[in-house]
Amino acid sequence: MAIGDLAFLIPLLPALAFVLTFFLGKKLPNGGAIIPIAAIATSFVISLLITLNLLQNPGEVITQSYSWFAMFNLGILVDPLAAVMLTMVTFVSLLIHIYSVGYMSHDRSQSRYFAETALFTASMLSLILSDNILQLFISWELVGVCSYLLIGFWYQKPAAATAAKKAFLTTRIGDVMFLAGIVILFSDLFKIFNGTIPDGVFIMRFDEIFAHIPELAAMNANILGMEVSHITIITLLFFGGAVGKSGQFPLHVWLPDAMEGPTTVSALIHAATMVTAGVYLVARTFPMFIAAPDTLLVVAYLGAFTAIFAATMGIVMNDLKRVLAYSTISQLGYMMLGLGIGAAIGAEAVGMSIFHLINHAFFKALLFLCAGSVIHAVGTHDMRQLGGVAKVMPITAATMIIAALSLAGFGIPGTIFGTSGFFSKDAIIEGAYLFGESSGMWIPYVLSIVAALLTSIYIFRLIFMTFFGKPRTDYGGHESHASMTIPLSILALLALFFGGLTSRRFNDFVSETFGNNFVNMNIPELAEMGGYHLAAHVGHEPVLILWMPLIVAVAGLLIAYLIYGLKVVNMDNLVSRNNPVYKLLYNRYYQNAIFTDFISVKIIYEGFAFAVRSIDRGFDWVVNWISDVTIETGDSLRQFQTGVIQTYATAVVAGVGLLIVLIKVIMEVI
């Protein structure tokens, strides 16, 4: 039996763990944490074996499809792209689960926590494994609902319940776009098949979709006077879904609020499961994107913009977790940028982006878990109350600094010495340079470089404010338990070395996704169809460009050190409510006021909903009016009913007389 036959177990085991933990967890120690840990560990082993097998035999893509209903199917697809994602998700999720045993040990609803995280992991794994777009959407939604449950884990807190709702609704906007894309895709394929789909053909399967890209590209819709290809519309809608899930501007608003859940949940969301789904979606359907002339440009620009936009807010946040949240948004922007520049460099963009995704998962999970460790120990997440934590929690501090270095991208170009984040981020920035070179559009590159500088500043601001200097308040605290520090150390090792060790082969491996026997796409050909001309070669940039990411990273470190370590600059004037820029950033560009207070409450709720309610009362009024009129008419006609027989007799006589006359007249006329 090949290991691939066990692939279906990867999401199934955590799903079973969910059921078991949900019903039995309360009776077991630690809320039954052992069940999901064991399940995910098994999934991890299976994923790792499959990945290793794929590394040796790149052609052995696992595909299994079963008819579900109508022309839809459920199935499994494990190609290099899915395999690396599976391994990463199971691994990071496993570590987070182990860490959670210590972190959640004081919570009364532990079993619910572990059940929900198990389901969360299962949905994400199912999303990665999907061999068709509908199943992907289903898992996608399940991921969303699990995040809803987990962000609102402490539902007694109104803030948590609100944040959960906001997260679900904001991502739901993206989901609707994604669904619209699927609906349009379905109807297009339905038309391509002329409405008769042969038995055994599942039109939502990726290979089926990719096989019809030329026909899709040939279909045009007229929108506002512009001829737009259907594939552009579909991919834009798909990207809309990714924008929601991956927290890209302008649907990023839910991510910082999502910090209301336990810190481990934040780690799961930000590193392993949820936010990467959007990037994965674009990577998975990359053949469609590359055939869409304008979508990839949108992806690139929006990614670059989000990277810098979120970084500016990260600089001013005082909440430990919020800084990390904005950092995630910013890094996701990089990943999207990485995909967007596929317009210039083809399928390699997917490799770069996924590489960054995986490295990011390591160092971001590490950052969150470290932050969780600090919060767990000192009981606050306001950086202004912290300081000098490194003395109390040396392991946490050391691992967090490693994570920060990795996030900021420290490493020496041209060698294998460097943190994981360096290799992946550097590659994306260089890709952006190449993109600018081949297309003449330099904005993504500039934005990405500035964002790198800001990244370095905010993360070292966090480090200096939290771990160095003197304690600003009397917080107490101690180093965390081993069940928490061991996952930290493992992640720290990966954040340091994973990138360097795998950077050579990773890209090639993932790029095989599109050349294998399952889809067998010719990316350059598709790019030609979309109107791109792929750059011939990667890697002959000027030396300055190669060193640029490191230079800005070091510059950011120095700036942060000068301001927050040595305090040579007095920030009090700058950091005040009177400074409009600071105020704008601190209020997060007033997005809460705009999105929540204005659009949701004022326009949707008080505007539309109340308008519809008034209209509805109008309809009700009409219905009641009809009945009132009927009653009143009857009431007035009742007056004729005097009850005196003579009146009735008179009426009868008069009626008979009239009838006679009428009959007579009618007879005459006829």
């Binding site: 609902v145 609102g152 539902y155 609906v183 909903a609």
Partner: protein, 495 residues
Amino acid sequence: MLPILSLIVLIPLIFAALTLLTKTKQQARAMALVATVAVLVLTMYMYFNFDSTIAENQFVEMYQWVPSLGITYHLGVDGIAMPLILLNAIVLPFLILFTWNDERKSPNRFYALILATEGAAIGVFAALDFFLFYIFWELTLIPLFFMVSIWGGPNKHHASIKFFIYTHVASLVMLLGIFGLYFAAWEATGTPSLDIPYLLSQFQFIESGLMKDMIVLALLFGFIVKLPVFPFHSWQPDAYTEAPTAGSVLFVMLKIGGYGIFKIVLPLLPFTASPGLMINILAAVGAISIIYGAFAALAQKDLKRMIAYSSVSHMGYVTLGAAGMVSLSVSGAMFQQFSHGLIMSVMFMASGVINSTAGTRIMNDLGGLAQRMPKLAVIMVLTFMASLGLPGLTGFIAEVSVLAGSFVNLPAYVIIALLAIVITAAYHLWALQRTMFGVFNEKLGTIVDINGYQTLSMGIIAILILYFGLNPSPVLDMMLTNSENIISLMAVMGV
């Protein structure tokens, strides 16, 4: 062979009469449970002997009744009726269990009315003769009227009379449509017949295009008021809200409006003088209902009223899917009826429990109930998720089939419907937040969780929601067969 359909229709009706004679609550509920379980057993037997690969009527029983007028006693089920009978048969025993320990006045009449509604509703689904169809159709009104006006809320008289008159007027218009069909066919062929399949096949031979349009419009009016969809929904929020919990559940079990559309209107549609117009009417009504119901639900303060409006929104998918004219969308619309019945019954049960324990349904006065009612919270979150169309639950299958299928022919309407999805999610989540989550409102006093009977009944229906969401084929296959049959008619006419 066993006259199984007659048994399924008559058992509840006979037991309803017998239940009236009982004296105590214990006897009445036992009687009701026996009857509903008997129906469930018979229906399961029928379901397992049902051939879902053919679109013909099965288990047919036919006897002459009034030959001079062409009235026959003709029963039979096809893939449109079978899932709805199944839905009624499944939910009703659990509804009885749900009310097992409730205290109310004259329980014998209460259970008798439940059984009468079940019998009448199944009668509508099983009838293959317009005479029987109309008798059962009107028969559903009476028990529900009394259900609302005896055990209803504070505004029960207004609501019950409004419901009765509104839907009765619609039924009369529908009756006019039936008469039109009956007499036109009588004139054309010379023999009177009220047989539904026969009349449906005779419709195309009616000469006057105007006549055909009027017939279909009259029938359609009767059906969409029963559904109900915008703009004929205004009886529904009142009736659903004022009805007792069991009454509300019976209301959502009563899928006769949608059934009529699939069974009677859709086969006629291609032969009308202006099928395009009809399709656009159906689709517009559906799309507007979806978004209108969603917004109206968002503005509600009463939990049950919100659920009632969400029902308007969900019913929009039925007409939109029916108008989609693709077998996927039509069967999705049929599945929406099935799924909506399951989901709404649990939602109404949940709101009934909240009302009876907390003493109010105004959402702003509730809050944090999940801390005191964890079992209810789990079930309620699950059903609310199903109602907002979460994948893996029945609502999603229906919605995605309707949306994807209808987009082929009606893109503009589907886009309107898509816009409503976010609103749908918003009001469901907001309702959950205000009732279940947040700080517990101490003013509510002591709150105890749902009892064993309630947990059992709601839990099992919730599990069914999950089961049919993951594996819709047991009911979706027969719907697909039938909708393909309908669509092939369209193809013949080139619509």
